[in-house]
Symmetry: C2
DNA sequence: CGGTTTATGGACATCGTGGTCTATTGATGG
DNA sequence: CCATCAATAGACCACGATGTCCATAAACCG
């Protein structure tokens, strides 16, 4: 075993690391955050600034995300005084998959994880079975979870009902 | 110098899209590819160039990935004529989680998807339950799948299996 | 021993994502 | 009508992940 390879100089390699196995991009995560915020409130218009604060997202960047969600038909927007963003459908009718899809995060599956151009059940790459398991788990999650689920969960603040 | 004005490029929205819900980084995928290649062959040393061709990975970039895998103790390396890389353990003893961990892809969970600093079962963010489901699915997948699984699956060449 | 083969280590160059900023358009209210 | 608010649009920049290249070290072969 000649792999002594003494690590006397523990220089870090340029291969960075993300915050773990990031299932979605940062933009997509922002989208889910803001959609969650909207689902948890009343159906009144919320401004981008307002949402950015609550969702802890850079304001100007969020506007781009919101634009995408509007273009995808998940949000309605209203300009001018009193305007803002509202969910286009009921929270129970908006799946995570819809939000991710609006952000360009297609539900996996299109690309061969092994680098092969074509990869299907007939001519599977070595990683195909394992990747299929992962892909199906992700799709099941994104397809089943809706905004209604996250709206119901974990109230952010104690909203005391007056009277 | 990036002051080369690159006009005429119809940059839609700056929110790019990856090849779907990419569960791992490109580097981590490369690592899984090359580890799969090694698991599928005999335990003879394979050169980086050889592996790069089979795994369809840029040669020089792969060398960095291989370095990481060696540093993590998943691979053994041998310099000089006849040298190359070999799995440090049996394929059944190398989980995907090990490979991902070597590439810096920690098994999720550390960061709050909603942007909160702290986020646990006691004070969960709205996304916490949904994210927990996702996180556990990913961890289960990465923890259960081993190189032996992908080595057995989908023989690239016809090879008689014993037993 | 020198020469070849291989891994090792790092210096760049490049590109996409994330993030900031400014201008414009549209709606509302006085 | 004008002032103001807020969405829309896109230019622009920073930075990290990706990818290329080259020098060096180590192991083997003659």
């Amino acid at each position: 075993m000649r792999t002594k390879s003494k690590p006397s100089k523990p220089r870090k390699l340029p291969i960075a690391h993300r915050d773990g196995i990031a299932p979605v991009s940062q933009s997509a995560e922002y989208a889910l955050r803001v959609m969650t915020c909207l689902a948890r409130g009343d159906q009144i218009a919320r401004t981008a600034t307002d949402l950015a604060i609550e969702a802890t997202v850079p304001v100007h960047y969020l506007s781009k995300v919101l634009r995408r969600l509007v273009a995808a038909g998940l949000l309605s927007s209203q300009k001018g005084h009193g305007g803002g963003f509202v969910l286009a459908r009921a929270p129970s009718q908006i799946r995570f998959a819809d939000v991710l899809g609006a952000m360009g995060e297609a539900p996996v599956g299109g690309r061969c994880a092994f680098g092969w151009g074509k990869c299907d059940a007939k001519a599977p790459c070595p990683l195909h079975p394992a990747w299929t398991v992962l892909s199906e788990a992700l799709q099941a999650w994104a397809g089943k979870t809706t905004l209604a689920d996250v709206a119901a969960a974990a109230p952010q603040k104690r909203r005391k009902r007056r009277g």
